[in-house]
Amino acid sequence: MKLGALIKKEFHRFFRDPRLIVTMLLPGIAIFLLYYFVGEAVYAEPEKYEFKVCLVGSSVCTQLIEEAIADGTENTVEWLECDDPEAAKEQVEKGEASALLLFSEGFDTSLDRPSVTIVYDPLSDESAAFHAIASAVLREVGMRYTLAEESVASAEQMGMEVMQSILPFIVVCFIFSACMSVTLESVAGEKERGTLATILVTSVKRSEIALGKVVPLSCVSMLGALSSFLGMAFSMPHLMGVSLGFLGMYGFLSYLMMFLLILGMVPLIVALVSVLSAYARSVKEASAYSAVVMIVIMAVSLLVSFVPMMGAWSAAIPVLNAVVSLQEILSGHMVLWKAFLSVGMNLAYTGALIFLLARMFSSERIMFGK
């Protein structure tokens, strides 16, 4: 009953304040707009493409790619059978062909890890669009073969890859600011104003007060996280310059894991900011502490964005583990156990921080020290 009342109070405080709701929804809208316009600027108006693709080797995958290309669009594909990969690559470079699809021998039947290579030109809208569709389809088919992607020009593609690789970093930044905006006010604000002490005088347990803060604030921050997630999910196809739809890019499991990773990060950050807020004497002081932590997390997340495939040890490091897993999912190399471990570890760290927060609420030096 007491915990319920504490949780209800936080919700009441939040949902009666339109400013706080806007703060929560803004990150997702910002991510969507940012990535949408970057995608639009790079790929301009979607055109009707008539792909001419050099084909070395054969596979039923070509049929799946054909279906994906035709799905809901007027795009068409013409397969140009080639024997000489080097000559075909030259054709792609000159713009005479949209891309080169190179299947190893016996691709559909070989048990000896067959491979497929896509050679394309990211500077050409048409070639980049084909690459996006073909690579998405090939990833969907399965991972029993090696997928290699070869770009004949690199500058622009590098830019796009950078945009894609810093996405987890951007999401973490938005989640952190969403968590900060509600938690600082609710914990440090209440401590500074003396309203938290009024609750401490009652017979409610300190652990209930800690839970009564972290649970509702996480739910509220989750709105921000959900907004960020949707912004990310809907903007990705635009970033890639194709209209594959929501699930077309990565598949349901990848999106589910991305969502779970974000979900695991939110209570952890809320609990962390709550602990800093409880320690601080004022909102100003708590903001300063949180800003330092945010800078550290941002720096680490940004670093991770450029260091692909981190070791399994990264799953043990809070927040960083989620960034690494998000990064792996976005690059099409999801490691499922690692992603689940990251979610679990972050929730375990959250539990430890809630325990610490309850101890802090019991500490007279922290709560009443001048």
Binding site: M1, K2, G4, A5, L6, K9, H12, R13, R16, D17, E190, R193, G194, T195, A197, T198, I199, L200, V201, T202, S203, V204, K205, E364, M367, F368
Partner: protein, 255 residues
């Protein structure tokens, strides 16, 4: 008379920060705020802890309200130890100080229910007490006005009423009229008189002689964390002279 509050050798020491040490020119980093304090308050009376600033009044009341723990000694409220049964003590105590505030965003109606729930008061009792107390103190017309929009007097009334939402046996007020204008101060003193009429036991701290003389049945004079005097108000001719006489004899200095 039934003893409702008993302090036994209550002691509390604080560590001074380096900065504080410099300001106070103190050589020792620790300061004894309350030094083996003993006193008793009885059911149905108003007991006043009188002393200058820094005498240890607030620290004593905070220990009684279980906000801070004594370093040694213990205190018992309605038979419950503040050291061993802090939760039970909080159930029988209503504590009010200017340091404790109400969230301006909420209404008196909401806050009364919220703090009722915090004390585990059932809904039916809560509704009955709310109606009774809000009507008695004229809060009913402002029940749905956000606290931040209330006048100082009304806000004080709301704070007072919320501090007794759970119908506590003992009500503790730390400097109840400090910083209040004359009108709001009267609201508080009237409220304390009403509480006494309701049979509550009240413990208040103050440095204002007239407040003690007007409200209290008994007084304890506290100087340097120690109880210097305890007695019935009716037995004291001139409280002010008594206080300064004690102060001079203990501190050895003129005021």
């Amino acid at each position: 008379m039934e003893e409702i509050v008993r302090a036994e050798n209550l002691t509390k020491t604080f560590t001074l920060s380096k900065k504080q040490q410099r300001i106070e020119r103190a050589e020792i980093a620790r300061r004894v705020a309350v030094d083996g304090l003993n006193f008793s308050a009885y059911r149905g009376e108003i007991y006043g802890l009188l002393g200058p600033n820094g005498a240890g009044k607030t620290t004593t009341l905070r220990m009684l309200a279980t906000l801070i723990r004594p370093d040694s000694g213990d205190a018992f409220l309605a038979g419950h130890s503040v050291v061993k049964e802090a939760g039970k003590v909080r159930d029988v105590v209503g504590f009010l100080t200017s340091d404790l505030k109400l969230e301006g965003f909420f209404t008196p109606d909401y806050l009364f229910d919220f703090f009722g729930a915090m004390h585990g008061v059932d809904k039916a009792t809560l509704a009955r007490r709310k109606k009774e107390l809000f009507e008695r103190f004229g809060i009913d017309k402002f029940a749905e006005v956000r606290v931040k929009n209330l006048s100082t007097g009304m806000l004080q009334k709301v704070s007072l009423v919320i501090s007794i939402v759970h119908d506590p046996e003992v009500v503790i007020f730390d400097e109840p009229t400090n910083g209040l204008d004359v009108i709001t101060a009267k609201v508080v003193t009237d409220f304390l008189t009403e509480l006494k009429g309701m049979g509550k036991s009240i413990l208040l701290s103050t440095h204002i002689f007239s407040l003690v003389e007007k409200l209290c049945d008994r007084v304890g004079i506290i100087i340097d964390g120690k109880l210097a005097y305890e007695g019935m108000l009716s037995e004291i001719d001139d409280l002010e002279s008594r206080f300064f006489g004690l102060y001079r004899s203990i501190k050895g200095e003129e005021v």
